[in-house]
Subunit: 390 residues, 2 copies
């Protein structure tokens, strides 16, 4: 019998893959200036230190690293992460921490633990593409929450909770992907309160937190959690190296146990060698100086991009992030960033049209620009080119 | 509001975790002889070679290894795996191969791509615990297939297909976990035929294939696939190191694409460093000599375990595997291996009661013995002790 797509699960049938990963195919064109991805700069990837730590880990604990490990994670890393998240105001213990293959996996396992098809999730609008795809695969009903320059609006969230009875809220509080916007302190408290008041899981996805180039750091929403409704998800992809696939979920022990059970049959445990490397990075005090170093370079790149808007018509608005990897821009209402995208790619500049980040599509005038993966001079050239095309 | 387990997804509510992982807690007792796990021997884990290959990979391709990679996997590894599976009679191309975090992830992503709650999966009875848990999490209806000393019985499978209209069959054809039984050549052909005739996905889980200590290797079921209904799942956990979490799925391009989409939001891609290490292991011709070396030691351990049955009453039957990690034993009908397990643990010997490997429980007289993780003299001591307790 010929193989047929009829065999696919209902939720998977309409899902055709990440729009960004399609755009990546266009980027192979020589001479392309890409503001499209979300990759760390190649300079931010410290191969030498990773190689040294890999040797140290294998020479001191090689047999344990190569053997089956606990699904709950590499014990020293759980300790290190408990220390690491103190800077986000989170007081926790290794028993509440699960190392995972990137924060995407934290969210995937959380969805697996909690979501039945048809359950509602409230999400910032726009939001991270990968999260939209993950929620769709689990058959969630995604309800959009409005944002302004201080992030998601708690009053609107409360109204949506009352109306839609969601099981979960998905929030990227710091230097949000795609907008670069940061949730204010008052709103962080308010969102934690809503989660605990109404019994809604708040998935706090916070991979950009430490990429701050100006302004003061804010405590995580999780730091205001009272009854264990906030799940904190962090990642070392942007801080050390995405290829290592190490992140973590922090959740109350009852919920974490269910997430662990999902992980047992999903992939048994997180790769031990890369867990051990991240542990040593933190434990030996190498991580914070490394972050300071890469933040200096990223600040110059962000500044170059913000400066580059001088080449844009004045009716193009944009966010002014204090960190992260992205700037969000809007053409005047009625203009079409998909059409701009096609002309831009022909002229060797790429970005991601903003419509892809909306659960309900639309918003054709918006687009996302990444600055971390291009040197300052290339950013200037690219912004000039792009401005000329608008 | 106090956190409540009511929030969990329906499928997850009854799932309390792997029975084996609970048993592991008992094994911490000093002096315990464990036939319970499925771990490779510590001697089989070649730390030095892994460390050398890690350095080579990082020094030659460090920036690519640390950056985001393709969900489809590390390109050189896809090529190496295409070569590797030729020894199983599988002619494929890198485009049909997806490196994953162990063969457990291959199965999890396959389930995600295909299974709606209530769909039927036919599985050997008994079968791998982790697979039972994965199928339950996706809400599958598991229907047991009978086996004999040549593996699953195709006539019974055909009858079950006609009766239950399954979407999938799950088969471990070589040195099956838990029984150690190998599916005969004729039956491999017959199972491939059934999958293609009726349009049922056959998930062929084959992580033990190369751990053969006697007899001739058999081609994979996948080698007899005609229309792309067989998905081959392999793993380097038992051949190189489980802590690296590298395995692969091989499937027709349409199905593989859907599996890739599931992986995009599950964990973006497989850890690149360990993919690169496995690639170099294969590419430099180190894998086959390594397997020959570890097989020699495992053969002695298997022989010691089989010999140890001389200490058991004659009415205890057992399989005589030609490879793998496990021997399967049965007490006389009516006897209870759960009760034996308790007495055995008190006396510092552990195994896994067989009932856990049955989708429908029962079969209380059966139990699984692992030989790979104990030296020959310990195996003899343990078998003598266990025999005395029966």
């Amino acid at each position: 019998m010929e193989f047929t797509q009829d065999i696919f699960a209902e939720q998977m049938k309409p899902i055709t893959g990440s729009a960004i990963r399609q755009i990546f195919h266009l980027l192979a064109k020589p001479g392309m200036i890409s503001f499209a991805g979300g990759n760390p700069s190649a300079d931010a990837l410290d191969v030498e230190t990773v190689a040294e730590l890999a040797q140290e880990a294998l020479s001191t604990k090689g047999k344990a690293i190569l053997q089956y490990g606990a699904t709950e994670g590499w014990a020293p890393l759980r300790e290190s992460i408990a220390e690491f998240v103190k800077t986000a105001g989170i007081e926790t213990s290794p028993a509440e921490i699960l190392p995972v293959h990137g924060s995407s996996q934290a969210f995937d396992l959380l969805l697996k633990a909690v979501i039945n098809p048809g359950d509602t999730i409230l999400a910032e609008s726009p939001t991270f593409l990968g999260a939209l795809q993950a929620m769709r695969i689990y058959g969630a009903n995604i309800v959009s929450l409005p944002m302004d320059e201080n992030g998601v609006i708690p009053e609107a969230a409360e109204e949506a909770i009352k109306k839609h009875h969601p099981k979960m809220m998905y929030i990227i509080p710091t230097f949000q992907n795609p907008t670069g916007v940061t949730l204010s302190l008052e709103r962080r408290k308010a969102m934690a309160e809503l989660a605990n008041k109404y019994g809604v899981i708040l998935a706090e996805d916070d991979p950009y937190r430490d990429l701050r180039y100006s302004g003061d750091p804010l405590p995580a929403i999780k730091s205001f959690d009272t009854d264990g409704w906030v799940v904190y998800m962090t990642s070392f992809s942007k801080l050390i190296a995405p290829g290592m696939r190490v992140g973590a979920a922090i959740a109350n022990p009852t919920l974490l146990r269910k997430i662990v059970i999902g992980k047992q049959s999903a992939d048994t445990h997180t790769t031990a060698l890369t867990q051990a490397i991240v542990d040593l990075y933190i434990r030996k005090g190498l991580l914070m100086p490394h972050i300071e170093r890469i933040n200096k370079a990223y600040k110059r790149q962000l500044d170059a991009m913000l400066d580059g808007f001088k080449y844009f018509p004045e009716n193009v608005t944009h966010t002014v992030p204090q960190g992260g990897l992205f700037v969000w821009a809007s053409l005047p209402e009625g203009a079409n960033a998909l059409e701009l995208f096609e002309r831009a790619v022909e002229n060797n500049v790429a970005f991601v049209p903003g419509t892809h980040f909306y659960a309900d599509g639309g918003n054709l005038n918006t687009f996302r620009l990444n600055f971390s993966n291009s040197p300052v001079d290339v950013i200037e050239t690219g912004m000039k080119k792009l401005g000329g095309l608008i």
